[in-house]
Amino acid sequence: MENWRDNRSLFAALMVPPTFWLVLFFTLPLALVWIYSFGERGPQGQTLLAFSFANYARALEWIHLGILFKSLAIAALTTAISLLIGLPVALGIAFAPKRWRGLLLVLVILPFWTNLLIRTYAWIAVLRTTGFVNTGLEGAHGALSALLAGLGWPEALGQFEPLSLLYNQRAVVVGLVYVHLPFLILPVYASLEKLDRSYLEASLDLGAGHWRTLVSVLIPLAWPGIASGALLVFILSLGTFLTPDLLGGTDSIMIGNLIAQQFGPSRDWPFGAAISFLLMYLTFAVLWVRAGYANRQQGQVTV
């Protein structure tokens, strides 16, 4: 790497244009929102500059704190379920014969290239009252009823009642797991693929079973990848806007939707700005923890 002083003209030519664009259309807007977050909402919904922490205090009132906690809980649940599904899948791919591995990885990555909105929308058709799940259940219910009727128990099961699967928090969690699962599988796979398998063989040779090897050797060795994937899923779920908007009901508003509401129908920008920054601080805190794991993982590779 060169020192910038040795080639100032090239350095400036490369630095100025992208920096100019990003400062003007990214840093400056963020700074503006940061300033607004200390402002006040005028009587017509306009933003008045001020210096008060009232918006932050309001964000920590019970009604809004509830939404914050719910968002954290939904993000945590999403992360837990993603781990439960993603760990075995990553394990399966990492230990699959080499000729399958590429194909399986492509199958994990492929959904990434599909529009987020469409992937979320696809779940509406699966979960709604006349969706695939309910239709399937109705079919099973009908078959079972017919069978029981044949055995002399007509009306044993009663009328089929479709489950309400859509427009609630469960649907939001399903949607979030669905869109974020690859973000977990890929880093876990990467760390499993790199780890030295002689440790696992040693563990087996020394009499530990597969479970014991998995829990006491494999998971600790792959921990940086697991933690980094899990934290990524967590922050992505926490900051989501689209999934609760499409799949959630009135009880599943998350922070992202609360922010959008303030900048939309509620027209209370200073308050929206304050929540927006709270969400960003939370995101940065998680990213900071994640950076620690990422460094450790890199360290492991060079060792």
Binding site: N3, P17, F25, F26, P97, K98, N115, F241, A273, T283
Partner: protein, 275 residues
């Protein structure tokens, strides 16, 4: 690792196969069903009533959808052009130079990748309102450029990492000026990275919903925004048809980008494996 009898050959166990099969079913069922039912000859979208292309005809005849598609193409083309150039500059800068506060600078320029999209969306909305810029295709394009620059920069930097600096030195020794070196040595080497970065920027722009949602005005509907408003209205096979078209387009572009990138990396990858 694939020799028979390997104790870690979990993929050969029935339970692992069952887990993998169930997970891939979970990942693919909704999207495959969505695509399949865009060809279903029934408005109700649940029972299979035979193959038809009529919803594609309907989608193609839908003028609003048509306009939204044109808008998306305009936004994606212009933003790709600008963000590829700016992103490439940024990527080369970060690869090549050491400068004071580089860590902080890197954090700042990569921020658009990591902050929640809704935060960036509302920030841009507030900014455009403050400078009294009416929301429309221009504001969408400007915003798309801002959030795709860092992605392009990451791709370019990764490509540069395999670059052999002695080529540049040799060119210098043979009397080339630094701009000539840039034009004749660095840029040709970078070409696959530039194409891959441009494709990434294009698909990111084409697919973006959240940031566009906050930076678009009444007359500047893009394709995903139009699909969103159709979804809010009702779930119809026409939406499925429009969605399928977008999926095919994005997938096609990504495959081309991967192909270009793998062709470009082929030499370097082979060298690494041989070493």
């Amino acid at each position: 690792m694939s020799r028979a009898g390997n104790p870690f050959d979990y993929a050969r166990r029935w339970w692992m196969r069952a887990i993998l099969a169930a997970s891939f079913l979970f990942l693919y069922f909704p999207i495959v069903a969505l695509i399949a039912f865009s060809f279903n000859n029934s408005k109700r979208n649940i029972n299979w009533r035979g193959f038809t292309l009529k919803y594609y005809e309907k989608a193609f005849a839908n003028e609003a959808l048509h306009d939204a598609f044109i808008n998306s193409m305009i936004v994606a083309s212009i933003s790709t052009l600008v963000s590829t150039v700016l992103g490439a500059m940024l990527g080369i800068l970060l690869y090549r130079f050491r400068f004071p506060l580089k860590g902080a600078y890197e954090g700042m320029v990569h921020l658009p990748i990591v902050i929640p999209e809704v935060c960036m969306g509302v920030a841009l909305l507030a900014f455009f309102a403050a400078i009294k810029m009416p929301l429309g295709l221009t504001t969408i394009t400007v915003s798309h450029i801002a959030f795709t620059i860092p992605f392009v920069a990451v791709v370019i930097r990764a490509r540069m990492a395999g670059f052999d600096r002695s080529l540049e030195e040799a060119a210098c020794d043979l009397g080339a000026g630094q701009w000539q070196v840039m034009r004749d040595i660095t840029l040709p080497y970078l070409k696959p990275g530039l194409i891959a970065g441009a494709m990434l920027a294009f698909t990111l722009s084409l697919d973006d919903f959240v940031i566009t949602f906050f930076t678009s005005g009444p007359g500047s509907t893009t394709f995903p925004i139009k699909i969103y408003s159709m979804v809010r209205f009702s779930v119809t096979p026409e939406v499925n048809a429009a969605s399928t078209l977008l999926i095919v387009l994005t997938l096609g572009l990504t495959v081309v980008a991967m192909w270009v990138q793998s062709r470009g990396d082929g030499g370097a990858g082979a060298r690494k494996e041989g070493a």
